[in-house]
């Protein structure tokens, strides 16, 4: 069973992202499943970044540490990831960098420099790349030094281009050398390069030349290796996309007509991809309109306050409208969330969580905005919050979020995170099965009498929705009567609060329990892990590992966190002997929420808040530690 993990590291702006994507494409071409994520600093050029990849024949659920291979394009990457490679694995590094001293690498975080200095001093060594390589070799890691300068010279000769203009191909030299060790053939790398730089023949040519040079060097120095067999997933068309892109696609085919955003990591790439595709051919739909493309208004606004208010205006006028943001932007949106609750506006906010508080670590992941999302907005502001566990769920949820928003005339927060945003996965046509998706617009009416009541009282709390511009009305953020006219009358007030409560009950009743939560694994297992969001596949992977080790556990994944499925959660948790919450925040937000809704106290937490993705081995470690030592809380800390 092929199951490979590797890391490609280098300076930001040095082609690490392209290198990562090329490796993913090479393995997809070869017939494998892949998962790859990008870890990077909030920096344009120079700081360390890396791509972390896992490849398998079967489903790839989670990234894994330690990896089989580290490809270090620069000195900082060798030193940063020195402990991330398993014994028996490989490090490919720049042979010209052996004398580089960690304490002299300006771009390296000072704390890391100090940790490395102490580590090597303790062994009586200087903190250099050479020492790192030596230490790695001592613990059974095989290392390959690439004479990058010479190899670049060779690429220059081969292409006839000056070194300066092909210097960027070091990333491809590195990745090809690395993939060589994993048995990937040159043709697959060349195909991947073509896919990556398609339409730019010069760039393709120089990178293919770089791959050739690297491949020949490896063949000469390392000798032949066992070729990676073709994987089982061949002979069909597959899709490689990030979470940002999958959500963008879902919105577009799911009927989005109006999207606003203010630039913020890690949300902007979603809006960018929508904008790129704001006028695409949507088949039959485009034909009906007799247009070349289906127009979507995508607007970068002056701030997040404008982003949501503009989406609210568009939604009130009848557009299928959304905005996307991250924690800081969502903070700015809070007042308007409250408006959308009071004025009953169907608006979707796609919230890509990142590591806070405040700016925190802008480009890193976390699950710290669960309570923020649920309790956003002043006043009593019930709303729908749905969290996706992976790319496929994110696809369907993004469309469902619109349906719910319009059916219930309420804001819907679609909760995702940086890990999903920048993680690329491979999808098959059947993964995005739109034939099982409905597009429904609720109680939308397009013609009506002169006395339209925007907030007509109904049994289910949901009023007929006439878009602005079709009837005289007032859509109001002030407490109002049925027509929307401002009213401070105590009876009107109570009636309207009750109406909105009734609506929330309707929501709770209408969303099937199966869409609110999923119990993965054996329902009778004595250990239950509880989590939400992007930890899903990591936990599923950990469950398999635990089972192999004789620990039987199941996993309660919460999908809809507001309205909260209290009864089902209560029932499931009370069956288990041990309940462990797994979440990427420090306060135990999910545990808090569970206790608030059910009274059940989750006594054990596996937490991660170093702003790096969660790894399956960490969950396994945490569960075992809790089971054997009975500790309340295990903080896991993997990732560079």
């Amino acid at each position: 069973m092929v199951d490979l993990s590797f890391i490609i590291g280098g300076p930001q702006g040095g082609g690490v992202e392209s290198a990562g994507q090329i490796t993913l494409k090479a393995f997809v071409v070869k017939g494998y499943n892949v998962l790859g994520t990008r870890e990077y600093h909030s920096n344009i050029m120079g700081a360390h970044s890396y791509y972390h990849v896992r490849v398998s024949e079967g489903p790839v659920r989670a990234l894994r540490l330690p990896v089989d291979l580290v490809i270090a394009i620069d000195a900082e990457s060798v030193l940063t990831h020195i402990n991330d490679v398993r014994s028996g694995g490989y490090i490919v590094y720049d042979a010209d960098s052996v004398d580089v001293d960690a304490t002299k690498i300006a771009s390296m975080e000072p704390s890391l420099r100090n940790r490395l200095r102490r580590l090597f001093e303790g062994m009586g060594l200087k903190p250099t790349v050479g020492s790192a390589v030596k230490v790695a070799e001592e613990r059974g890691v095989k290392t390959v030094g690439l004479p990058l300068k010479d190899l670049l010279k060779r690429v220059s000769e081969l292409t006839g281009a000056p070194i300066a203009s092909i210097a960027k191909t070091v990333n491809v030299i590195g990745l090809t050398a690395g993939l060589y060790l994993l048995g990937v053939d040159l043709n697959s790398v060349a195909r991947a390069i073509e896919l990556q730089f398609g339409g730019r023949p010069k760039i393709v040519a120089s990178n293919v030349a770089a791959a050739k040079v690297a491949y020949e060097f490896m063949l000469k120095t390392v000798g032949s290796v066992r070729e990676l067999p073709e994987g089982p997933h061949r002979g069909r068309v597959r899709m490689l996309a990030s979470g940002n892109e999958v959500v963008a696609m879902a919105k577009i085919v799911g009927g989005l007509t109006f999207e606003t955003f203010y630039p913020i990591t890690p949300a902007s790439d979603e809006a960018f991809y929508i904008e790129e595709n704001k006028y695409v051919d949507l088949g039959e739909l485009t034909k009906i309109m007799e247009l070349e493309g289906a127009p979507i208004v995508v607007l970068q606004t002056e701030d997040e306050i404008a982003a949501i208010n503009m989406a609210i205006g568009a939604a009130a006028a009848g557009a299928r409208a959304a905005t996307s943001t991250s924690g800081p932007g969502f903070s700015l949106m809070n007042e308007a969330i409250s408006l959308a609750v009071e004025a009953e506006i169907p608006v979707v906010v796609t919230l890509w969580m990142r590591a806070g508080p405040s700016t925190g670590i802008a480009t890193r992941t976390g699950q710290q905005d669960l309570l923020h999302a649920i309790f956003s907005g002043h006043g009593d502001t019930p709303k729908i919050v749905v969290a996706s566990g992976d790319h496929v769920e994110a696809f369907y949820d993004a469309i469902k979020a619109f349906n719910w928003a319009e059916a219930f005339q309420t804001p819907v927060i679609h909760l995702l995170d940086k890990y999903l945003a920048s993680t690329m996965t491979v999808l098959d046509e059947w993964d995005l099965d739109v034939s099982r998706v409905e597009i429904s617009r609720g109680k939308r009416v397009l013609s009506h009498s002169d006395s339209y009541k925007r907030y007509e009282l109904t049994d289910d709390g949901i009023s007929p929705f006439a878009p602005i511009g079709t009837a005289t009305m007032v859509v109001s953020g002030l407490e109002h009567d049925e027509y929307g006219f401002a009213s401070e009358d105590p009876v009107d007030r109570e009636v309207m609060v009750e109406k909105r409560l009734r609506k929330f009950e309707t929501i709770a009743r209408s969303i099937p329990e199966t869409e609110k939560l999923v119990l993965h694994g054996d329902p009778d297992a004595r250990v239950t892990l509880v989590s939400f969001g992007s930890t899903k596949q990591v936990i599923l992977s950990a469950l398999e590992e635990l089972e192999r080790d004789g620990v039987k556990a199941n996993f309660l994944q919460l999908r809809v966190l507001s309205p909260f499925p209290s009864e089902s959660v209560s029932k499931i948790l009370s069956r288990a002997d041990k309940v462990i919450c797994v979440e990427a925040n420090s306060l135990g937000q999910l545990a808090f929420l569970i206790r608030a809704h059910t009274g059940y106290e989750v006594k054990h937490l596996i937490q991660k808040f170093n702003a790096r993705p969660l790894y399956d081995v960490e969950v396994v470690y945490g569960v075992k530690k809790i089971l054997s030592e009975g500790v309340r809380r295990v903080v896991v800390s993997g990732g560079a």
């Binding site: 997809v28 071409v29 017939g31 997933h233 002979g235 069909r236 068309v237 899709m239 490689l240 996309a241 085919v253 009927g255 109006f258 595709n277 006028y279 051919d281 039959e284 739909l285 309109m289 247009l291 979507i296 208004v297 607007l299 606004t301 002056e302 306050i305 982003a307 208010n309 503009m310 609210i312 205006g313 568009a314 939604a315 009130a316 006028a317 009848g318 557009a319 409208a321 007042e335 308007a336 408006l339 004025a343 696809f395 469309i399 491979v426 046509e429 995005l432 739109v434 034939s435 409905e438 597009i439 878009p467 602005i468 511009g469 079709t470 009837a471 005289t472 007032v474 859509v475 953020g477």
Partner: protein, 309 residues
């Protein structure tokens, strides 16, 4: 049959103080809409928070009462979602130039076809008379414990710098002239702003009716050849004079249409160029599904993400 201004009144009790300038503005808006004979279902008044923003309840339309400072983005969303609608923003100087100042600038940059009516009384009335962004420095209105330490923003210059293509100033008690200005602003294609000087008889005891009426005059009265229209480069020579008049605010305060740029595209037109058919099938009205299903599989659309294995 053409509509009368009474057709734009609503049943709601108009809850402004007696003598408030808002009444004049409201009447001028009613009359402008009537003369333009606009279907109230197709007229959208968006308000923020404050006395002025209550206009959403007093003008018959398909209206939206938003939150403090955010009327412009809500109005922009409505207009871009359905460009056929006539969209007005009515709010105070505090709402539009204070808390909402960033959005005021952005609307000018975008040149969306929205008319912004500033009820400019230089005070925050509903919260009992604090200094508004157009209150001059050193002025101590009766609710202020000390004279104002902020200087005033000039709404016209701000509008010009932001890119509004129609900039005018009116006076709340001159209902007829004001009606004509508002009409011209609505008819203008692009972002229009009408700054309306408006005494607040309750809280602004300095900039009173008398104070204004000693100072105001109409541009066209002073200079019968006054023509604010910029039709092309041949009219650029007018701009220094226009700015000179916009800056004038002291012993004499000019009123009228200062500036109307006919050369610039609206955002709607820019979008139409990028997406031919946008105006015909805008976000609020275009179909989104086929028989209640997504129209197409993502693999048929997002081909840049596909890999043949």
């Amino acid at each position: 049959m053409a509509r009368r201004w009474l057709d734009y009144k609503t049943e709601a009790w108009v809850q402004w103080c007696p003598g408030c300038g808002d009444f004049g503005i409201l009447t001028a808006v009613h009359r402008a809409l009537a003369e333009l004979d606009l279907d109230p279902r197709r007229v959208v008044v968006v308000g923020g928070i404050g006395c002025a923003s209550r206009s959403v309840y007093y003008v018959k339309g398909s209206n939206f009462h938003a939150i403090h400072g955010r009327a412009i983005p809500v109005a922009s969303g409505v207009k871009l979602a359905n460009p056929e609608l006539t969209v007005l923003v009515m709010g105070g100087d505090g709402d539009l130039l204070g808390i909402g100042g960033g959005h005021f600038v952005a609307l000018g940059r975008r040149n969306i076809d929205v008319t912004v009516i500033i009820h400019d009384n230089a005070v925050y009335g509903l919260t009992k008379g604090q200094a508004g962004p157009t209150l001059p420095v050193g002025v101590k209105t009766k609710a202020l414990p000390y004279p104002n330490v902020h200087d005033r923003v000039n709404p016209l210059i701000l509008a010009y710098a932001s890119g509004y293509t129609f900039i005018a100033r009116g006076y709340a008690y001159h209902v007829n002239q004001l009606k004509d200005i508002i009409k011209a602003a609505i008819q203008h294609k692009g972002a229009a702003v009408v700054d309306i000087l408006q005494p607040c008889p309750t809280y602004n005891d300095i900039m009173t009716k008398e104070w204004y009426e000693e100072r105001i005059y109409y541009l066209a009265d002073e200079d019968p050849t006054w023509d604010p229209r910029i039709r092309g480069p041949e009219d650029y020579h007018k701009i220094p004079r226009i700015i000179e008049k916009m800056v004038e605010f002291g012993d004499r305060i000019p009123l009228g249409i200062f500036y109307q740029d006919l050369t610039r595209d609206t955002l709607e037109e820019r979008l139409e160029r990028q997406m031919p058919g946008y105006l015909k099938a805008p976000p609020a009205v275009r179909p989104i599904s086929i028989n209640g299903k997504p129209p197409v599989h993502p693999f048929k659309v997002f081909k840049d993400k596909l890999i043949e294995t």
